[in-house]
């Protein structure tokens, strides 16, 4: 069958089971968009207000569903607008395929209208990228892009297709490609050593990261913890990988982690790190972090082993498989003494910091939403204080229910992510955001309204850039340089302009009814909750610090 390059794009999407794509049309993707029009019964295209929103939506779609996200943009500014979204996906290892148009091959390199070397631009933030210069290679290149995006540690891949390649025709034959499961050879010795140090350890601590979520290894992780009788803490990306209800789960560790989790980790003699890369936000001082401990590192990416933390032994591979292998080999263990210590840490007051409930406060807002939505509701966040509060106070019970920009820390990620999640799951998603982040991508309210996407947007408005302000409070003598926003945005009127229902609340007494009201209909809603700019994220371990430096008040 001889078809155009533009149609080949559609065919390969279908081969890969893609039914939803995000994007924004433009001059160099006209031919692709013509096919999107023709294939609209098979593939749903969601047009956003801005390409950045589309890239975050594709990312959120991928995180919530486990499928590969797909985003389209035109050349030049369309392509560069994707970059933040691609980088966000790269840092959090989300499978994403970005397809951009470019000027026709004879015009490349001549600074033509809307020409940009997007492969050059995205080289450091993609697993790989391609420019297709021969229509006969288009189908295979796209297939390869999907394989690369999913293989090993997932990540974004960009395919740049010049306009003339979209118009040219080539033979197309359907074919399905599966990522080859590249087995990792850890050697008998590493495996034996791992089993040995687990047996020898008196105080093991399981530190789980985003790899547990992306490899769907929650069940294995919980079983593993049960067998070796160890507590579990997570990085922020690991949240939702372990159910809040698991009695072994102590919460997030790190800079703003729960006291009990960070403390138990510090007290342990063996850290079993599962699908995590020891970000500086999670470890604090890297030398003291591992002082007197052994580290067993399980990760799919060999380059993560020893990158940030020296390890005693590493097992490279898909964490689900590696955990299963360990489970098969390990006897049931009991460590009553360690269990008792952990229990004590868990029950100490520092592990249960509460916010001032006499006023409308983030904890109560988060807990109220938590109480009123089903446990499989996907929660998206932006970045900053509210993100940490969600990580601390929301009780996640199902994997893939927290979408947050962990690595890149992208303000404005949440709006797109919530859109992608709602469309991917077919259910309402909730976006917790702040006044600062909301303003970054509020243009996507139009996308939410136009497509009637059920997203509950909770804007915690403190009239400030709270996290930066908090640092200014602690480290910069309260010199609040450009963090007091006082924008006077009328959120209710703004939402109304987009035809979205909204409400503003300022008192505790209004909270529960307002959330109930917001959830009444399965349609978009914006709830502005006014909070104090002086609310802080606690506990806090200053950068490069340890549990000894923890700030609790």
């Amino acid at each position: 069958m001889r078809i155009t390059g533009a149609e080949i794009v559609m065919k390969v999407l279908l081969e890969n089971g893609v039914d939803t794509i995000f994007g924004y049309p433009g001059g160099t993707v006209l031919h692709i968009y013509d096919e999107i029009y023709k294939y609209s019964d098979k593939i749903r295209h969601v047009t956003t207000s801005h390409e950045q929103g589309a890239s975050h939506a594709a990312d959120g779609y991928a995180r919530a569903t486990g499928k590969t996200g797909v985003v389209f943009a035109t050349s030049g500014p369309g392509a560069t607008n994707l970059v933040t979204g691609i980088a966000t996906a790269y840092l959090d290892s989300t499978p994403l395929v970005a397809i951009t148009g470019n000027v026709a091959t004879p015009f490349i390199g001549r600074d033509s209208f809307q020409e940009v070397d997007i492969c050059g631009v995205t080289m450091p933030v993609t697993k790989h990228n391609f420019m297709v210069k021969d229509v006969n290679k288009l189908a295979d290149t796209l297939r390869e892009a999907f394989v690369i995006a999913r293989a090993g540690r997932p990540g974004p891949v960009l395919v740049d297709i010049p306009k003339d390649i979209q118009i040219a025709t080539a033979e197309y034959e359907m074919c399905s490609t599966q990522p080859s499961k590249k087995g990792h050879n850890n050697g008998v010795k590493a495996f034996e050593t791992a089993l040995e140090i687990i047996r020898q350890s008196r105080k093991p601590f399981i530190y789980a990261g985003g790899g547990v979520v992306s490899s769907d290894a929650s069940k294995e992780l919980e079983l593993f913890a049960e067998m070796i009788d160890a507590p579990i803490g997570t990085s922020m990306m690991g949240i939702s990988g372990v159910s809040y209800d698991n009695k072994r789960y102590l919460g997030m560790t790190g800079m703003h982690g729960k006291f009990c989790s960070t403390k138990a980790m510090a007290e342990s003699d063996l850290i079993i790190a599962v699908g995590t890369r020891f970000s500086d936000r999670a470890t604090g001082n890297k030398v003291k972090f591992v002082d007197g401990k052994k580290v067993l590192h399980i990760d799919i990416d060999p380059a993560e082993i020893g990158k940030n933390i020296p390890v005693y032994v590493a097992l490279v591979g898909d964490v689900k498989e590696v955990l299963q292998k360990l489970i098969d080999k390990l006897p049931d263990m009991e460590r009553p003494e360690w269990e008792k210590t952990v229990e004590e840490i868990k029950n100490c007051p520092d592990s249960h910091l509460e916010m001032d409930k006499s006023r409308l406060n983030p904890q109560s807002i988060i807990e109220t939403v938590n109480k009123l939505v089903p446990s499989d509701t996907v929660i998206a966040t932006d970045v900053g204080q509210h993100q940490m509060w969600v990580a601390q106070y929301y009780k996640f019970r199902k994997p893939r229910t927290l979408l947050t920009s962990g690595g890149l820390g992208t303000m404005g990620f949440g709006m797109g992510a919530a859109i992608g999640a709602a469309l991917g799951t077919g259910k309402r998603s909730v976006l917790f955001t702040s006044d600062g982040c909301f303003h970054m991508n509020m243009n996507e309210l139009a996308t939410i309204a136009n497509n009637n996407i059920p997203v509950l947007i909770v804007v915690m408005n403190n009239n400030a850039l709270g996290m930066v302000r908090q640092w200014q409070t602690i480290f910069f003598g309260k010199r609040y340089s450009n963090t007091s926003l006082n924008r006077n945005t009328n959120y209710v009127k703004l939402a109304d302009a987009f035809d979205i229902k909204a409400k503003r609340i300022t008192e505790m007494g209004e909270l529960e009814d307002a959330v109930k009201e917001a959830l009444k209909e399965n349609r978009p809603y914006l709830l502005e909750a006014v909070i104090s700019p002086d609310e802080r994220v606690l506990p806090m371990i200053p950068p490069n610090g340890t549990i000894k430096d923890i700030i609790l008040k």
Partner: protein, 174 residues
């Protein structure tokens, strides 16, 4: 950890942008390249890159692991410098008037260099060898007035059975 010079050989797909991907990776991870040479292999679809860099064991291992993640990289190996033949080629142009060239020609013979161009005012010499030899020759030539210098950077090949795409180490898990 001790910093030392190390040498890395890799096979990569001979495609546009590969060199940028490889060198870009060094730059963004904060590692410096001391020298780099690249050329086609017997298979025109594959190129071989030789890189020398300086760093401790951490840097050495991280670079290898990060390079291996690049889609276009087929294999990377940290070469054992004791069991590797290493060569670079250097061209030196020296401005020396006629009649003052005896010493230079003498050195050229001793270093097994070659005269590759000769004009009334200048001599161009070619020397091949490992880095130490090239440096020694250069040092000797500087007082005569070196006006231009080009070095290819080191290229390297393992001795005897030491092949880049050698048999994979057999070491099974269970």
């Amino acid at each position: 950890m001790k910093e030392e010079k190390f040498l890395m050989s890799m096979l990569v797909k001979n495609e546009a942008g590969v060199l940028t991907r490889v060198s870009g990776l060094f730059a963004r991870r904060g590692f410096n390249i001391d020298s780099l040479s690249v050329g086609e292999t017997l298979d025109p679809k594959i190129s071989r890159i030789t890189i020398t860099a300086t760093g401790d064991d951490y840097v050495k291992e991280q670079i290898r692991l990060q390079l291996e993640k690049l889609h276009d990289v087929i294999i990377v190996k940290n070469m054992d410098m004791k069991n590797t033949v290493m060569r670079e080629l250097m061209l030196i142009k020296v401005n020396v008037p006629q009649g003052k060239r005896i010493e230079i020609l003498e050195a050229t013979t001793i270093f097994r260099a070659k005269v590759v161009d000769l004009t009334p005012d200048s001599l161009t010499l070619e020397v091949t060898g490992d880095t130490n030899k090239c440096n020694a020759f250069l040092e000797y030539m500087v007082p005569f007035g070196v006006v231009e210098l080009c070095r290819t950077g080191l290229t390297a090949i393992g001795r005897g059975k030491d092949l880049l795409l050698g048999e994979q180490e057999a070491n099974s898990e269970e």
